[in-house]
């Protein structure tokens, strides 16, 4: 009887722990967890200072009132970042009508500020024939800020065996109120597209009424 | 454990024996009833193909799925009943474990039935990856998951039972090799003619099914992962290999488990003992590897398969089935020859099973030849070959055992007219069913088509008539079993 009780307890408590620690069976990896967390509890983005491709200081607050799509890159990246930013380029083309692009901005943040000088950031944007009015590349101005930014977005960067980095690859959406509201994976470009369509439409309706 | 050990039977208490008998009967009755229902399902499918019955494609494929899964399940649970009944006389088996497997099996069946008839799962019992996940809206991921989960649960149940077999056999014989008679075969021990055939056969079944279940445990979970996590795309060919290994081993093993009835019952009817010998051990040893090695003959039309695997499969297919068949068939003939046997229905059925098994090998071997496979693969030839095996080889063993358990052998009575009617209706129907399938296959009619082209309908109608005869025969058998089995005492 005691055994039965103890086993019962262990199983119930254990299942509960597993249930809670996977967010009710919805997130098994850290990547899934961060996406889910942001979706359920959007967070205000702190007002960091960044340095952009023109060596100007840029604050995310400067783009208040716009939807911002953020991706994390390093300019010597041979693969994933190229796909990430390549998709941004496609997005920029798709949302290029004046009114939409005025509501939508792109920001590529480098997590390799030692190497990624403004000059290199500029080349990077040119590589994607970015429309520089709406798409900016920027780097954190000091290491502690870099840590703060990566921590906030829960982006994990680890060095790979070729001298580069492997990192969380995704699109982070900041809404016009300056809140991080959604994260899409690199494989979710279709979902991202639909999402942007929807929120931009909504915003339009709100501003008209 | 002296080498001259005489096989003495295990003693159980009376209550244990009573309980065991009820368990065996439950297995038999449940299994045979499922067989009957599956035959009705088969009849319905043939009638639909023959345009005599209106069934939508979705329902047809659901029936097809339940027919496949049901027959394999019924074959497993019934043959396990036969095997356990005899094996427990030589090694100490647990009633509790036997019942546990039975109830786990029933749980799995409920899940599978639910997935098919509530969840509309119609991905065939072979759940060939990635079909369960890509149904074009016909069924949900949940239904496909319930089906695979049902199979997984059934696998765990059998695993528990086989572990009990393994434990008991090891306790008595020390190693599986010794139980298989290998020590005698290779001269480490003198040949013991009384080494029980039931133990040899059970050990073989235990080994191959253990491997089959292991493969199934991996492949079913991989399928489940894919259902809920579609980014994970396992290699389709590897999945196919594992699925066919699992399926082929599990269904093949049923006939090797059931043949124990022949070894045990023919001696009773003739009064002569079944003597095990070196060729017998060699045959059963060979079959361990053959049953596991032949499955790639399902993959001859998958050109990326490595050539060596296909060649091995083809060579093994020629030989597979033969060794045990030869020693068993020859043994059966010798034991019956001039023995003055009473041809009870049970004896007739057991003898028929030898014929069905022997003749069933021929279409199997033909299909396993690459040149023939090119035009027979996935035609109705394939169902033709396994309906031959199952209807004329496996089922006669199982029904023969049911008659024995119902006490027919004890009373030494001649078969009643109704039994004879059942026997011949079944015999003719089963033979026709198989032959119509084989003829259809030879005429290039593909298998698993809900609607047949006009050119093929005649075959399907002939198949329908044949199937009705089988159902009639089976109905008579089942009625008899249901009337006389429950009250029957344990045969002496």
């Amino acid at each position: 009887m005691k055994t039965f009780l103890a086993t019962f307890l262990v199983v119930i408590v254990g299942s509960l722990v597993l249930w809670v620690s996977t967010d009710e069976g919805r997130a098994f990896t850290a990547e899934e967890a961060r996406r889910l967390e942001i979706r359920e509890t959007p967070r205000s983005v702190p007002d960091w200072r960044l340095q952009n491709q023109d060596a100007e200081t840029f604050r995310i607050q400067d783009w208040h009132g716009h939807f911002i799509v953020v991706d994390f890159i390093y300019t010597s990246c041979p693969d994933v970042c190229l796909i990430l930013s390549g998709n941004l380029k496609t997005l920029q083309k798709d949302f290029s009508t004046e009114e939409k692009s005025d509501k939508l901005r792109f920001l590529s943040i480098s997590f390799d500020p030692e190497k990624d000088t403004p000059q290199r950031l500029k080349e990077y944007l040119h590589h994607f024939s970015a429309d520089l009015r709406y798409w900016m590349a920027a780097r954190p101005i000091n290491p502690s800020q870099k840590e703060a930014i990566l921590d906030f977005f829960k982006v994990i960067v680890i060095p790979d065996e070729y001298g580069g980095y492997t990192h969380s690859a995704g699109y982070h959406i900041i809404n016009p109120d300056g809140k991080l509201v959604a994260i899409f994976g690199i494989e979710q470009t279709d979902e991202l597209h639909t999402y942007l369509n929807q929120v931009l439409e909504e915003k339009e309706n709100v501003s008209k009424s | 454990m002296s080498t001259t050990e005489v096989s003495s039977k295990i003693e159980y208490s009376d209550s244990e024996n009573r309980n065991a008998l009820i368990a065996v009967k439950s297995h038999l009755i449940a299994g045979l009833l499922v067989f009957l229902l599956m035959m009705l399902a088969g009849l319905a499918m043939r009638a639909a193909q023959g345009t005599w019955l209106e069934i939508g494609a979705d329902l047809f494929y659901q029936i097809m799925t339940v027919h496949g899964a049901g027959v394999v399940g019924a074959a497993m649970i019934t043959s396990t009943g036969v095997q356990w009944y005899f094996l427990r006389q030589y090694v100490r088996l647990s009633n509790g474990v036997f019942w546990t497997n039975f109830f786990i099996f029933l749980t799995g069946v409920v899940l599978i039935l639910g997935s098919i008839f509530v969840g509309k799962y119609g991905g065939a019992w072979t759940f060939l990856f990635p079909l369960p996940a890509i149904s074009m809206g016909a069924w949900s991921a949940g239904a496909a998951a319930a089906f695979q989960l049902g199979l997984l649960i059934i696998g765990v149940g059998f695993l528990i039972l086989y572990l009990d077999f393994g434990r008991a056999i090891l306790a008595r014989y020390g190693s599986l090799a010794r139980a298989l008679g290998l020590t005698q075969l290779f001269g480490k021990e003198p040949v013991n003619y009384k080494h029980p055939a039931a133990v040899v056969a059970s050990t073989m079944v235990l080994i191959v099914n253990f491997m089959g279940i292991a493969a199934g445990a991996v492949v079913l979970v991989m399928g489940l992962v894919n259902l809920f996590y579609p980014e994970f795309k396992p290699d389709a060919l590897l999945m196919k290999n594992l699925i066919y290994f699992f399926g082929h081993v599990v269904i093949n093993a049923t006939i090797y488990a059931s043949v124990i009835a022949v070894y045990e019952l023919l001696p009773r009817y003739t009064g002569r003992p079944w003597k095990t010998n070196k060729p017998f051990y060699a045959a059963w040893f060979a079959i361990v590897f053959m049953v596991m090695g032949v499955y790639p003959h399902h993959l001859l039309m998958d050109f990326p398969m490595p050539t060596w695997a296909l060649i091995t499969a083809q060579v093994l297919s020629f030989g597979s089935g033969l060794p045990v068949l030869v020693v068993t068939g020859y043994g059966a003939l010798m034991i019956v020859y001039r023995s003055g046997i009473t041809w009870s229905t049970s004896a007739k059925l057991l003898f028929l099973s030898m014929f069905g098994w022997a003749a069933g090998v021929i279409p199997a071997i033909l299909d396993a030849m690459v040149t023939v496979n090119r035009t027979f693969h996935n035609t109705l030839w394939v169902p033709g070959h396994f309906h031959f095996y199952l209807l004329l080889g496996l089922l006669p063993m199982l029904i023969g055992f049911a008659y024995f358990l119902a006490g027919e052998g004890d009373r030494k009575e001649r078969p009643k007219a109704v039994d004879s009617l059942g026997f011949y209706a079944y015999l003719i129907g089963a033979f026709m069913t198989s032959m119509v399938f084989l003829a259809s296959g030879a005429n290039s009619i593909p298998r698993r088509w809900a609607v047949h082209l006009p050119e093929w309908i005649g075959f399907a109608q002939a198949g329908t008539i044949a199937a009705s005869l089988v159902v009639l025969g089976m109905l008579l058998f089942i009625t008899r079993a249901l009337i006389s089995l429950p009250g029957a005492n344990n045969p002496r």
């Binding site: - | 494609a57 979705d58 494929y61 119609g122 991905g123 065939a124 072979t126 060939l128 990856f129 990635p130 079909l131 890509i134 149904s135 074009m136 016909a138 795309k233 290699d235 389709a236 060919l237 196919k240 993959l299 039309m301 998958d302 050109f303 990326p304 090119r374 035009t375 693969h377 996935n378 035609t379 005429n443 290039s444 593909p446 298998r447 698993r448 088509w449 809900a450 609607v451 082209l453 050119e455 093929w456």
Partner: protein, 80 residues
């Protein structure tokens, strides 16, 4: 399938693959006799080489159970 027409008397190579689930690729002649086949499998391309010895209208039938539309997967192939 492209092209839908091939020439008789010379070997034809069929490159058979599948986008969704496993299918079968069975070539039937005008009398509905199966003359060659291979499996169609996602992630693999099976090469089937066949020489048609006479012209005519051939049928391709699905020979691996692939779901509720299995029996309607029929297409035609013209051999000149």
């Amino acid at each position: 399938m492209t092209p839908a027409t091939v020439k008789s008397g010379q070997p034809v190579e069929f490159q058979v693959s599948a986008a969704d689930v496993n299918h079968g690729f069975g070539i039937y002649d005008e009398n509905l006799v199966l003359i060659a086949q291979t499996q169609a499998m996602p992630g693999y391309t099976n090469k089937l080489i066949h020489t048609f010895d006479k012209p005519g209208k051939f049928k391709i039938l699905c020979l691996e159970y692939c779901g509720l539309a299995h029996h309607v997967m029929i297409t035609e192939l013209t051999v000149e």
